[in-house]
């Protein structure tokens, strides 16, 4: 890789294509062990009557790649799929027939709202927030989760970002996140 000092990595010159390739490679590298990890989660989720086939796991991974690209994010490590599966596998609103598609949808929401919250919220906090509301006031509705709860959370975070004296977390303390 030859790059002049001070040159913008995603600049307006020919380095642009190199940067795009770099990002694609980054995403590809992080997917190496994903499939095995997701399928291994079946041992846990089977207790709740939920399993993913290899085909479904691959589809989730494909969606992940697409979501990351759309949201312009890079994930180096294993990602959040196994965390999402772990957090949502005991949900009363998820059953075998909607399991894969719900995980896909939750994953998409996760990446969208990581950006919408300007990375001010950690992975665990966001997943916990989603879990509490999905199982609570949303009653398993992905649309409601997105349009009401997550939207409100992101607006709250953005509104207090400039004011360092306000901690947005204090508002959500009662909701156990």
């Amino acid at each position: 890789m030859n790059m002049a000092k001070g040159e913008d990595l995603m600049g307006n010159n020919s380095s642009n294509n190199n940067s795009r390739n770099m990002i694609n490679q980054m995403v590809a590298i992080s997917e190496k062990n994903q499939l095995t990890k997701i399928l291994k989660q079946n041992e846990l989720t089977a207790k709740f009557g939920l399993t993913l086939t290899e085909e479904q796991a691959l589809e989730i991974l494909q969606c992940r790649r697409m979501n990351l690209k759309e949201e312009q994010r890079i994930e180096f490590r294993e990602g959040v799929i196994d965390k999402l599966i772990f957090a949502f596998c005991d949900s009363p609103y998820i059953y075998q027939a909607n399991y894969a598609e719900t995980i896909e949808a939750l994953q998409e929401l996760f990446y969208i709202y990581k950006n919408e919250c300007y990375d001010e919220i950690t992975d665990d906090e966001l997943i916990e927030f989603m879990r509490v509301h999905f199982n609570g006031d949303c009653q398993g509705s992905i649309d409601f989760l997105e349009e009401s709860c997550l939207d409100m959370l992101s607006r709250d975070i953005r509104s207090v970002m400039d004011d360092v004296t306000v901690d947005w977390r204090s508002k959500y303390e009662e909701e156990d996140i």
């Binding site: 790059m3 000092k5 890079i74 180096f76």
Partner: protein, 221 residues
Amino acid sequence: MKTEINYSLEELLPIVEKLSIKYTRNESSSISYETAEQLMDAVCYCIMELDTRNRIDALEENAASRSGFDTKTSGAQGAARGIMTLEYPTAEEAYQRGYKAVTAKVEAALGVYEEIMQDFRDYGSLAYRDTIEKGMPAFFNFYDPLFAPQETILTLDYPTLKPLDAACGIDLLYDYLVAIREEQRFLAAFPEEMVREALRNYHFLGGELFINVMEAFMGEQ
């Protein structure tokens, strides 16, 4: 000065990955493109800092041995050592050493700044005063050698007599401060009121313009 780094993407990515873990405090598995670019730039900057430093060291060493200032090494030995310092380490080693070189340069820049501030005179130039007295402390407060060593932070409104070669970051700031130190040393040889007068004669709004005091002073002589 334009330099290049010769490491493949596969060698650089693990460093960026480690840096991203530090950046997110291991609390986020993903980062935005902008952050990834920033971290990649940070890694490249540190590696190139080492490269630049090595070349300067090697050149200085060779020059010293040729001119006989370095009594410890003969010319051939000095050249050999120069070549040795130009050998490329692994990307990780280069980054670590480059990062140390960057932090050392920050310390050096701070030393130069403290030297300037011992007897700093702005000669009535607002841009000079603001850049040195207000801007520089802010730079040293906010400069981040780990995640954004390539950021210059300041706009450096007060111009130096000669344009600086360094592109950005601490390289630019260091060169800038060295140029300012030389300028202060030169101007200190003259009575302060004489320099102020020259600035006023250069332009009636001389103190408010973004012009180099030394340039104005020399122009008046």
